[in-house]
């Protein structure tokens, strides 16, 4: 389906993305369809874009009903160090239940843990409807997410279905209006990059524990400050010379335990520039985004704010993406998540968080070769250096190095093997290093 208003992100549109980078030989045509489906699903899952991988269920004028989704399973091994024994603030992988303790109660234990679980995107069921309304298109889509694994690895425990996505979209020559629960803008660009060139069919980092349910995080937390699915309303302009602006307001979040109050909606914005037509050998996507929110604690108030930016480019079979972010009180993993890394406590100022990451992908026939590197950093305040806080050790850096191979057996079936090394460093010299080996399969429709 093509609408008069172009998509906010042309790289996510399968035809435009792959016409220029894949061979159109009949031998590889099947694979092109496969990766087209991947890109389209990426759009649907990550950025509430049109999912070209969708299956039309019913077409009865004026409505069309479609579905899309995926199921997957991954085997993973985490090997490395347990959490250091100190008063750490933020970051790292909690290991109290799972580590092999050292004979010295004050020494770091070892972690060796296998799981059979979901990946970066868990099982997903999406159902949507669309219809024409004059020159515009109206659409509504609902997505339910569910991991394979249960809370605390309890055998007979329900998997809470997550109504991750539920939004409406009106699209026309005047632009696009989106409302409901959908992917927010800050920092959408780098999250898309991780999905497309990194872990869309893989696992990466398991999150801050090895025994709780996912979904997994890819390179999120290691230079990637991910956007999240949030209640909001967003207007996106039509594309003018490749430039497009998305403006949205989102339900405010509170910083639990530090700044618990919020009163006004959170504005977010993203400016993008796209160069290259669907059949271009060279394509470029630039983005800059940001968010701003006031938070309160009793009579005090403060501001969480951040900006991000980056690019993706596709030159033939070679794909490259990089981005970064900086701001106050942003957290380590998901923008404005509210974490112990952000502040010393209730009503105290926010620390500065920043990060950067780079992704490379080489497309070799039906195989994608992926590699990435990223680092998130937390900068101390003067308050952190006071003598009475000498025993508290905030996270300093989280560095991730990742590599993966994805084989697209056909347009529906995808095999993945990926590795991630996670390095955590706290102020005061404490450290934790972990290696994640993941392999599994994903079936999409």
């Amino acid at each position: 389906m093509e609408c008069s208003a172009a998509r906010p992100n042309e790289l996510l549109h399968p035809i435009e993305r792959f016409a220029s980078v894949r061979s159109i030989k009949s031998k590889t045509a099947r694979w092109i369809r496969a990766v087209s489906a991947l890109a389209a699903l990426a759009g649907g899952l990550v950025a509430t874009r049109h999912a070209a991988a969708e299956v039309t269920l019913v077409k009865s004028d004026p409505w069309e009903v479609y579905t899309s989704g995926r199921v997957n399973v991954f085997f993973g091994l985490a090997v490395g160090q347990g959490m250091p024994k100190a008063q750490l603030r933020g970051g790292g992988v909690e290991s109290a239940l799972d580590e092999e303790p050292s004979t010295d109660p004050n020494a770091q234990g070892k972690l060796f843990k296998m799981r059979v679980h979901s990946g970066f995107v868990p099982n997903v069921l999406s159902v949507g409807v669309r219809r024409k309304m004059g020159e515009s298109t109206l659409r509504a889509q609902l997505s339910v997410w569910g991991t394979l694994e249960t809370l605390s690895q309890r055998k007979f425990e329900a998997v809470a279905a997550d109504f991750r996505e539920g939004y409406l979209e009106a699209d026309g020559a005047w632009g696009t209006f989106t409302a409901g629960r959908f992917g927010s803008l800050f920092s959408r660009g780098i999250t898309e990059t991780d999905f497309m060139y990194g872990h869309g069919y893989g696992v990466g980092f398991w999150g801050g524990t090895v025994g709780q349910p996912g979904p997994a995080a890819g390179l999120i937390g290691f230079g990637v400050l991910a956007n999240s699915f949030s209640p909001g309303m967003m207007y996106t302009t039509p594309k003018l010379g490749g430039v497009r602006l998305a403006l949205g307001i989102f339900d405010p979040v509170s910083m639990a335990g530090s700044w618990d109050g919020s009163r006004t909606a959170r504005p977010e914005a993203e400016l993008t520039y796209d160069l290259g037509s669907p059949d271009s050998f060279f394509k470029l996507h630039l983005y800059a985004n940001g968010a701003y929110q006031k938070v309160y604690q009793g009579p005090l108030d403060s501001t969480v704010r951040g900006v991000g930016g980056g690019f993706r480019t596709e030159i033939g079979h070679f794909h490259l993406g990089a981005g970064g972010h900086t701001g106050k009180g942003l957290g380590l993993y998901y923008a404005l998540e509210g974490s112990a890394a952000d502040t010393l406590g209730q009503g105290l100022p926010f620390r500065t968080a920043d990060g950067y990451s780079i992704f490379a992908q080489y497309v070799l026939g039906a195989v994608d070769l992926n590699a990435s590197f990223g680092q998130s950093r937390i900068h101390l305040l003067d308050l952190d250096l006071q003598p009475d806080r000498a025993d508290l050790h905030p996270i300093q850096t989280q560095t991730g190095i990742s590599a993966g191979v994805v084989y697209h057996l056909n347009e529906s079936f995808h095999l993945d093997l990926d590795y991630l090394r996670a390095q955590f460093r706290w102020y005061g010299g404490y450290k934790q290093d972990l290696n994640y080996f993941n392999t599994g399969a994903t079936l999409t429709w």
């Binding site: 296998m114 055998k155 056909n410 429709w445």
Partner: protein, 476 residues
């Protein structure tokens, strides 16, 4: 089978019922699915059910310890919150509860053994030797959870709040690749160990009924009998049926050779925190060897299955394992299912589900303290459990008449015997059940079932609860 026109409709409904049950239980091919879209090499389908039951419970409440100064170890019985939620006590003139076992009397309107289910899936073929299937199923009871709805007043309820929602359970989400070479399943689907026993209960017992309310209360406490929390209910689960669960895993099934099939799988390991084991390191292996013979009017299905998992302790590890065997036999309208299990802490109610009754709460050992000395700590000696179940179904036209009995036994560890004066441990869970199911057509099913569940502890305490359930299910 009778081929009279009068019963032809019922035959179709029974086939659909059996196929649906098989699809829901064992992630087998769901013949009851309704194709909603179809292409040259693919199709999308939907299936599901909705149901509602009135369920009346009457019997004994939680027992009091027989021996003065002793306690009853948690893990069995009904209404285990402290204080109890539903037990009715007698009081003295001063309003103090009398020191005697209370009673349970409670009527609920709730979901049954299977709650409301919505299943969506798709098939796609790639040539003659590869067929892919993806299927997801959402389960949701009709009753809300403990903290919501019309149950106890929630002090956290905001003014004007509407909070009696029902959380959906993403119970199933798996992919399957199949060909002449066999079948690979990956995702969240029913495990292999315990599957045969669960099939017996679902097909010949409670697939359209309720049975006993063996309920999940929270991730941090064991599954036990309960009248307050939301279902789905358990049928005969916990009474000789060590129920299979849906788990994250990968399995390979060989092709059927003369009716024999071998299934091998690995699954995400289960924690035994309540039993004293928090760590896991390696996946759980499960396997099932099955045999199926089907001829006119005759069906024989035999199964033997097992599972094994290690539970690391310090630098060594304990092992939990279980084995199960049994069979289903259908001779015309008479269907019989028999099976049993045994093992080292393989579960009380559900296979490899944590429960404090799986390990001794009084066993100890001496270990190094890390500073050159020795200390005594809990050793959580694992207990052996075993059980057996038998179920019979007689098909009279559109009516199924079901009956069965089963028992799960927990064997004491040495330390349990030595400390019996202090702690009374769970001894057995026994049930007898009967049901009548009327299949009005292929979609509409009426059920009336009864079950008596009886618990015994080693110091002589006992508890018995009767459940009388009636309701209706619509399948599609």
């Amino acid at each position: 089978m009778n081929r009279n026109p009068k019963t032809r409709r019922w035959l179709k409904s029974s086939v659909a019922l059996t196929a649906l049950t098989a699809g829901l239980l064992a992630s087998n091919h769901a013949s009851a699915e309704v194709v909603i879209a179809k292409g040259e090499t693919w199709d999308a389908y939907i299936s599901g059910r909705v149901g509602a039951f009135a369920s009346y419970a009457f019997g004994e409440g939680r027992p009091l310890p027989k021996l003065a100064g002793s306690t009853i170890e948690p893990g069995g019985g009904v209404d285990n919150d402290d204080p109890t939620n539903d037990t009715i006590y007698e009081y003295d003139a001063a309003g103090m509860p009398l020191p005697k076992q209370g009673k349970l009397r409670k009527l609920r309107v709730r979901s049954g053994y299977y709650p409301n289910i919505l299943t969506l899936g798709a098939h796609k073929t790639f040539g003659p030797n590869l067929k892919l299937t993806a299927q997801v199923s959402l389960w949701g009871t009709i009753e809300p959870d403990f903290a919501k709805g019309s149950l106890p007043p929630n002090p956290q309820r905001a003014n004007g709040g509407r909070e009696n929602s029902v959380q959906a359970d993403f119970r199933e989400g798996f992919m399957r690749a199949e060909g002449t070479w066999g079948e690979v399943n990956g995702g969240r689907f029913m495990g292999l160990f315990g599957r045969g026993l669960t099939e017996i209960d679902a097909l010949y017992g409670h697939g359209y009924g309720v049975g006993f309310p063996m309920l999940r209360r929270s991730y941090s406490v064991p599954v036990t009998g309960d009248l307050r929390y939301q279902g789905p209910t358990g049928g005969m689960t916990g009474f000789g049926v060590l129920g299979a669960t849906y788990a994250a895993g990968v399995t390979y099934d060989t092709p059927s050779v003369s009716g024999v099939k071998l299934s091998l799988g690995i699954f995400d390991p289960a924690t035994y925190i309540g039993a004293g084991y928090g760590r896991t390191s390696t996946p759980r292996g499960e396997a099932e060897l099955s045999y199926k013979l089907q001829r006119d009017g005759l069906l024989v299905r035999l199964f033997g299955s097992g599972g094994f998992q290690s539970l690391p302790v310090r630098s060594s590890s304990e092992s939990i394992w279980g084995a199960s065997a049994g069979g289903r036999f259908e001779f015309g309208p008479v269907h019989v299912g028999l099976g049993g299990f045994l093992g080292r802490a393989p579960g009380i109610n559900y296979a490899f589900d944590d429960n404090p009754a799986l390990a001794s709460s009084t066993s100890t050992r001496v270990v190094p303290d890390g500073a050159g000395g020795m200390i005594m700590e809990m050793s959580h000696d694992l207990r052996n459990t075993r059980g057996f179940v038998g179920m019979v179904q007689v098909v009279l036209g559109p009516v199924d008449i079901n009956a069965g009995a089963g028992q799960t036994v927990v064997l004491q560890a040495d330390s349990d015997k030595a400390n019996a004066a202090k702690v009374s441990t769970l001894k057995s869970q026994t049930a007898v059940t009967a049901a009548v199911v009327y299949h009005m057509n292929e979609s509409f099913h009426l059920d009336l079932d009864f079950i008596n569940g009886a618990y015994k502890w080693y110091n002589g305490e006992s508890e018995s609860l009767n459940m009388l359930n009636g309701g209706v299910t619509v399948t599609f």
